[in-house]
C-alpha cells in the first residue's frame, strides 16, 4: 500500500493538467462579511454575544471579587447536591462534591477562598465540577478558547458535568482568526485547540434542544476585568 500514496498523487496531477472549467474570480477579502457589533469595546461585544448562548455569565472587577463569586457558586452547588443525595436516601458521606483544579495559579486562588479541590486525576470519573482558565475569548462569536497546552490537558475542559471557566478581559480578541494568528506565532503550538461556544448540546431528537449531551451540561464563565479604568488591582 506504500504505492497508494504515489498512485493518488499521480492521479491528482494528471487530473489537474486540465484546469477547472468553472474558475472563480477573487472576491473582496478586505472587509468583514459578518454583522457589525452593536456594542462598543471588545468586553461588551463579547458579553453581548456570549449571553446569547446557553452558558452562565458572571462579571467581576477584581480577582478577589471574582473568586468570592466562584466560592459562593460552588457552595450553593455543594448544598444542592447534598440535599439531593439525602432526598434519595443515600449517605452524603459517600457522595461528596468533587471539584477538580489542575492549573497552579488557579489552585492558589481557589485555596485563598477555601474552595476544596482535587489536584490529581484520581476519582476523575466522579467529577462534578472542573474549574479551568482559558486561552482566549472571542468577541464576535462569544466563544471560549481552550487548548491542550493548558495544564487542564484535553480532559478537564470536556469531561466534567459542570465546567467553570475563569477568564480576564485582556484575553478577549475580536475574531477566531485573531486567535489562530497568535497561536501560530508561538513556539509551543498545542495538539488540540477547541473553540467552545456553549454547554454541550444536542438536537438530534425532533430538533428539541437538550443540554449536556456528552460534554459539560453547564458552562459558567467568570469574567474578571483587568483592562478597563474601573478594574481594581
Amino acid at each position: 500500500m506504500a504505492s497508494a500514496r504515489q498512485n493518488i498523487l499521480e492521479r491528482i496531477q494528471n487530473a489537474l493538467k486540465t484546469p477547472t472549467a468553472l474558475p472563480v474570480s477573487k472576491p473582496d477579502f478586505s472587509k468583514s462579511p459578518y454583522t457589525l457589533p452593536t456594542e462598543e469595546g471588545l468586553d461588551l461585544i463579547f458579553a453581548e454575544n456570549f449571553c446569547k448562548g446557553k452558558a452562565e455569565f458572571y462579571f467581576a472587577t477584581s480577582v478577589e471579587e471574582g473568586f468570592l463569586q466562584i466560592k459562593k457558586w460552588c457552595d450553593i452547588f455543594i448544598e444542592n447536591k447534598r440535599q439531593d443525595i439525602i432526598s434519595q436516601g443515600l449517605d452524603e458521606e459517600f457522595y461528596p462534591t468533587q471539584i477538580f483544579v489542575w492549573e497552579d495559579y488557579l489552585q492558589e486562588l481557589c485555596t485563598a477562598v477555601e474552595i476544596a479541590f482535587n489536584d490529581t486525576d484520581k476519582d476523575l470519573q466522579n467529577i462534578d465540577i472542573g474549574i479551568t482558565f482559558c486561552e482566549f475569548l472571542v468577541a464576535r462569536t462569544g466563544s471560549i478558547i481552550v487548548t491542550s497546552r493548558q495544564k487542564t490537558g484535553r480532559r478537564l475542559t470536556i469531561y466534567p458535568p459542570v465546567h467553570i471557566v475563569v477568564a480576564f478581559t485582556s484575553q478577549i480578541v475580536m475574531e477566531v482568526e485573531d486567535v489562530m494568528k497568535i497561536l501560530k506565532s508561538e513556539p509551543d503550538f498545542p495538539s488540540m485547540i477547541s473553540v467552545v461556544s456553549g454547554p454541550s448540546q444536542t438536537a438530534d431528537i425532533e430538533k428539541t434542544l437538550v443540554l449536556g449531551a456528552h460534554g459539560p451540561k453547564e458552562l459558567i464563565l467568570f469574567l474578571i476585568d483587568n483592562t478597563s479604568a474601573e478594574a481594581q488591582d
Binding site: 477547472t20 459578518y34 446569547k52 486525576d121 509551543d188 461556544s197 438530534d204
Partner: protein, 457 residues
C-alpha cells in the same frame, strides 16, 4: 432488481407515507427557522460564500501540493498519514492499527466518511465493539439502520419512535422525553470513552499549514473520543483540505449557519497530533487516513471537480423538494440529496446510480443555498449528459427515442395513424414512467395540422 428499480419502489412508498412526511416537515421547519435567525450573523452572506468558493476552488486546483504540505506538517509533529485508494485499503489500515493495539472497544464520532468505507459492518465482522457516540448515530445504530441525513442522522424518527427503540434495545421503560433519552445515551457512553483503546473520528477540514484536522460538533462526543483513548484515527476525503488555520473562521461560520442555523457550532476543535512533550494528557498516537475512493475521478472532470468543494453542511438536502418527499434512505447511498446525486454516480458507478441525477426537478434551490456555491443543478445536468454520452440508458429508452425521432422528422409519419392508435401507443410507451397519480393527456381526434389546414384563411 437493480438500483434504479429499488429506488423507484422505495420512492413510491416513501413519498406517500404521511407519517414520514410529517416527521420530516417538522424537522425541516425547525431547521428553516434556525437558519433564518442564523443568517442575521452575516452582514454579507454572499461575500462569505464567494470567499469560501474561491478558497476551495484554489485548493482543488493545487490539491497535490496542499496534501503534501499537510502530510509534512502533520508528520513533523509525530502523527502518521496513511493514503487509501479504496475503502478496502482504508479498512485494512484501521484493522492493522486496532490489531496491534489489541483493541476491544472503539468509540466513534459521527463521520460520513466512515459510512462510506463501511466501517461499522467491517468492525462487526472483526468482533470489535464499535460504539457510535453521536446521539443521532447511536439511535440509528441501535435501530440497525443507516443514517438518514448527513447532518441529522435520525431525522426520520419521531421522539416516540426513539422511545420505542430505546425500550426494545436497552430494556428500559418507555419514554418519549428527549431530555431523558439523551441522558440515557450520555450515561451509557461515559464509561466507553474511558475504556476504549481507540477513538475514530472523521474530519470536517484538513488544515495544510499546521498539519491538523478540524472537527465540528455540538455534543462533545468527538472531543471525548479524541481525549481518553490511546489512539486517535481520523479518516477524511482528500478534498477536505483548506490552506490556513485562519480560514477556519470563515468555514466554521458558514458550516454552522448552513448546517444547523447556529452562529457557531458548540465545539470546533483542531487536532494537530497526539500529546506533545509539554502537555499533560491526550492520545499517544494519531493517524490520519486520506481517502481517495473515486474522488480523483471527479477531480479529473473539469466541470464536476467543483463538487469536491462540498463541506457537507446538508443545506441542499433540507431545501430539496425531492429529498423532503422521498427521504434520505431511498437514495441507497452514503451521501443523499442533491450533492449525493451529483457525486454518488462517480463514487459508486454511473451505470447503477445515474437515475439519481434524473430524480430532480432542477428547481435550483440547492444551488442557491450552497455555502461554497456549488452549481448543483448544472452538475446534475452534466451527469445526465455523461450517462447518455456513455450510452447507459436502457434499451427501451434508446428505442423509444429512436422511434420518436424517426416519427417526428416527417409529417407523413406523424399522420400515419389516427388519434385512437396514437393514444394507445402513448399508453404503451409511458405505461411505467407516467405514474399512477396523474392523468395522461390524450390527443384530440383532429390533429393541429389538419385543423390549421382547414381554418387557415
Amino acid at each position: 432488481m437493480n438500483e434504479q428499480q429499488n429506488f423507484q419502489k422505495d420512492v413510491e412508498k416513501k413519498a406517500f407515507d404521511m407519517r414520514h412526511r410529517q416527521t420530516i416537515n417538522h424537522n425541516i421547519d425547525k431547521y428553516n427557522q434556525a437558519v433564518a435567525r442564523g443568517l442575521h450573523n452575516f452582514e454579507d452572506h454572499e461575500l462569505a460564500r464567494s470567499r469560501a468558493s474561491y478558497i476551495k476552488t484554489q485548493v482543488l486546483e493545487n490539491l497535490d501540493k496542499y496534501l503534501l504540505q499537510f502530510e509534512e506538517n502533520f508528520e513533523s509533529r509525530g502523527g502518521k498519514v496513511l493514503w487509501a485508494e479504496t475503502k478496502e485499503e482504508a479498512q485494512q489500515y484501521i484493522w492493522e492499527i486496532l490489531r496491534k493495539a489489541n483493541t476491544k472497544i472503539v468509540v466513534k464520532s459521527k463521520s460520513m466518511t466512515t459510512e462510506e468505507i463501511g466501517l461499522n459492518e467491517f468492525l462487526e465482522e472483526k468482533h470489535i465493539e464499535n460504539v457510535e457516540t453521536d446521539l443521532g448515530e447511536y439511535i440509528v445504530q441501535l435501530a440497525g439502520q443507516k443514517p438518514y441525513h448527513i447532518v441529522t442522522p435520525a431525522m426520520h424518527l419521531s421522539r416516540g419512535d426513539v422511545g420505542k427503540i430505546f425500550e426494545e434495545k436497552l430494556n428500559m421503560p418507555y419514554t418519549d422525553n428527549p431530555q431523558f433519552l439523551a441522558m440515557t445515551c450520555r450515561n451509557n457512553l461515559r464509561d466507553k470513552y474511558t475504556t476504549a483503546e481507540v477513538g475514530i473520528t472523521g474530519a470536517n477540514f484538513l488544515i495544510a499549514d499546521v498539519g491538523g484536522i478540524a472537527i465540528t460538533e455540538n455534543e462533545g462526543n468527538a472531543r471525548l473520543s479524541a481525549t481518553f483513548p490511546k489512539i486517535h484515527i481520523a479518516i477524511a476525503g482528500i478534498e477536505k483540505i483548506i490552506p490556513n488555520l485562519e480560514d477556519l473562521d470563515l468555514f466554521w461560520s458558514l458550516l454552522a449557519t448552513s448546517g444547523t442555523g447556529q452562529r457557531m457550532t458548540i465545539y470546533n476543535t483542531v487536532y494537530t497530533g497526539a500529546k506533545q512533550s509539554f502537555e499533560t494528557d491526550g492520545t499517544e498516537e494519531m493517524y490520519v487516513i486520506l481517502l481517495d475512493n473515486g474522488r480523483t475521478k471527479i477531480l479529473a472532470d473539469e466541470q464536476k471537480r467543483q463538487s469536491l468543494a462540498c463541506i457537507r453542511c446538508g443545506a441542499c438536502l433540507n431545501v430539496c423538494p425531492v429529498y423532503k418527499n422521498i427521504g434520505g434512505h431511498s437514495y441507497h447511498t452514503t451521501y443523499s440529496g442533491p450533492i449525493g446525486s451529483v457525486i454518488s454516480p462517480h463514487l459508486l458507478g454511473m451505470k447503477d446510480y445515474k437515475h439519481l441525477s434524473y430524480a430532480s426537478s432542477l428547481c435550483g434551490a440547492c444551488g442557491t443555498v450552497c455555502p461554497v456555491k456549488i452549481d448543483l443543478p448544472q452538475l446534475l445536468l452534466k451527469n445526465r449528459q455523461e450517462s447518455v454520452e456513455k450510452g447507459l440508458q436502457g434499451f427501451a429508452e434508446k428505442l423509444t427515442f429512436q422511434l420518436w425521432e424517426n416519427t417526428m422528422r416527417k409529417r407523413a409519419r406523424v399522420d400515419r395513424w389516427g388519434a385512437r392508435w396514437k393514444n394507445w401507443g402513448f399508453r404503451q410507451i409511458f405505461y411505467n414512467s407516467w405514474g399512477k397519480r396523474r392523468e395522461m393527456p390524450t390527443l384530440p381526434k383532429e390533429s393541429f395540422h389538419d385543423w390549421w389546414k382547414k381554418n387557415r384563411k
